[in-house]
Amino acid sequence: MTSGRIDKRICIGLLGGLAAALAPGSATAQSSVPSRAEIPSHEFMVVGYGTAGWQVTDNGATENAFFGSMSPLLLFQFGDQFLYEAELEFDIEEGVTNTSLEYAQIDFFMSDHLTMVAGKFLVPFGVFGERLHPTWINRLPSRPPLYGHGGESGPQPLLPVMADFGVMLRGSWDLGKGKGITGSAYITQGPSIEEGHGDGAAGDVVELIPEFQFGEDSNDINNDKMLGGRIAFVLAPRFEIDLSGFTGEFDDDGSRINAYNLAAEYRFGQTELRGEGFIMRYDFGGADAPGTGAGGGTAGTVTAETGGFYVQASQRMGPWQPVARWTRRSDATAATFDTEAGYSQFTFGLDYWFSPSIALMAGLELNDSRSDEELPSRFVIHWAFGF
């Protein structure tokens, strides 16, 4: 099978989906479109969030730093069926102002149940990256260390908050009484890896597991699309289980990543429990595969796995909200899933909400490494402002 044949099947699927959605449903969809007199035809607004904070890390020597960020989200609504949304990110790190376009997408609301998304969008792998990562939504001033970018304080993350170029279909079925089923299927350009990774010897976890990046290049590096999907069951008004996964090549030599995610969320009263975990399997191919043949994969290949999970509990008590989170990462050597490697991180936080969207959040991260890697403890305090 060639990449070209795959792409043809993808195109056929997408076009079929588009046609199927537009053909029988379009009549009813159109009937739900309001007249101009009923709903304003367009609107532009700026929302978003910002952060200002301070952190101390302790890894033998103590270091501290101030930090700040702003993420304006621009919304352009046209009628009841189109929305263009783009989120920018500005932050200051070591005196340098970084800017990025987190996502820029067009949402086409095809019917009451189906939305087509195109552009650069947050990939619905798990729940945290797509819905919970904004600082004022996340109950703690730091992310679970599974997600993020290398260079941030703390352990090396496994995945960035994923945003990639492509097309996505999202469905939502309201089953009444607060129950429902939602799903997404998407095709994107796929992952690539940071330079300098993936060339180590087999068994060397740090070198073997590459740092992935998504959406850094709108070109397709290998003519192989990343495919993924998610399905979520809202079993009760405040109880949701979410399954998701993706597969895609991250190099032009057949190296592939497959990932699976399970997430759940439950709220009762003012108590909130949530968590998610994922497993990623790497098939390194090509002549420069690290530790060729040593990992138990087919000749010339190395297979590795890694994964992790976090669980988080919080309790709102008036303006106060204590939070606790446990994160565990299991690193893998080739063809084994060595749960002795990796780390655990315990995070304890306390929020004070000045308004529904403004909070002062403090968090203490304590790491327990199960390898030789030294992981600093960290205290973070920041203002989170949703506007």
């Binding site: 099947r9 739900s32 939504i137 299927a185 969207s357």
Partner: protein
């Protein structure tokens, strides 16, 4: 495609996804839409209060409707429809709820349903209070009689925690004790406040 991936179960998933997309699209399209004109505005707003309580509250603290105009809530609801997987009807319901309780001077952009009859002073009753609580979507944010949302405090056992005067004043003016309260002011008449009071008392055996 490499021999590695051919041997992997996920290669099957690659082939399965395009047909799945077709099925997803066809399923969504076949399930149709709810026509706006067919929906009772009051019922839609009441449903919106529920959605606001159990869906929006998953990630957000409740924000007061007066923070934005109806037009802005409309755009925000579309954004959240794509982000939080709301159906079209759920998004419209949330907009209807926020619009119905939005007292901001600049909010009145969306046409509001005309009152079906001039307001009259009914005799207070628990039955009327139940109807008012239902149509206003109180259970979207509060637990009443064992069921409801968690945005606001439970109203079960309320009379053990608060006296009747406080409750009466809170219903009439939600911000009288807390200027940051996000509870909407429904502008109930004094007799309707008494009806709701009677209903809340009845569900806790008072």
């Amino acid at each position: 495609m490499s021999t590695i991936a051919k041997n992997h179960a996920w290669s099957a998933a690659r082939w399965a996804l395009p047909p799945l997309i077709v099925l997803l699209a066809a399923g969504c399209a076949a399930s149709g839409t709810v026509e706006r004109s067919a929906e009772d505005p009051a019922a839609l707003a009441s449903y919106g209060a529920e959605v606001y309580g159990y869906s929006c509250a998953r990630c957000h603290n409740a924000r007061a409707a007066v923070e934005r105009s109806d037009r802005e809530w409309n755009a925000a609801a579309l954004h959240m429809r794509a982000r939080a997987n709301l159906s079209g009807r759920q998004a419209r319901a949330v907009i209807a709820f926020l619009s119905s309780v939005n007292t901001a001077p600049t909010a009145a952009v969306l046409p509001q349903p005309a009152p079906t009859a001039p307001p009259v002073e009914e005799a207070p009753s628990a039955e009327l209070g139940k109807a008012l609580a239902t149509s206003s979507g109180c259970a979207g944010c509060h637990v009443i009689d064992g069921a409801g949302g968690s945005v606001g405090p439970s109203l079960d056992g309320l009379f053990a925690r608060r006296d009747a005067d406080f409750i009466r004043q809170k219903i009439a003016d939600p911000r009288f004790d807390n200027p940051n309260s996000v509870m909407p002011n429904f502008r109930f008449s004094p007799s309707r406040v008494e009806s709701i009071l009677a209903y809340l008392k009845s569900v806790e055996g008072g």
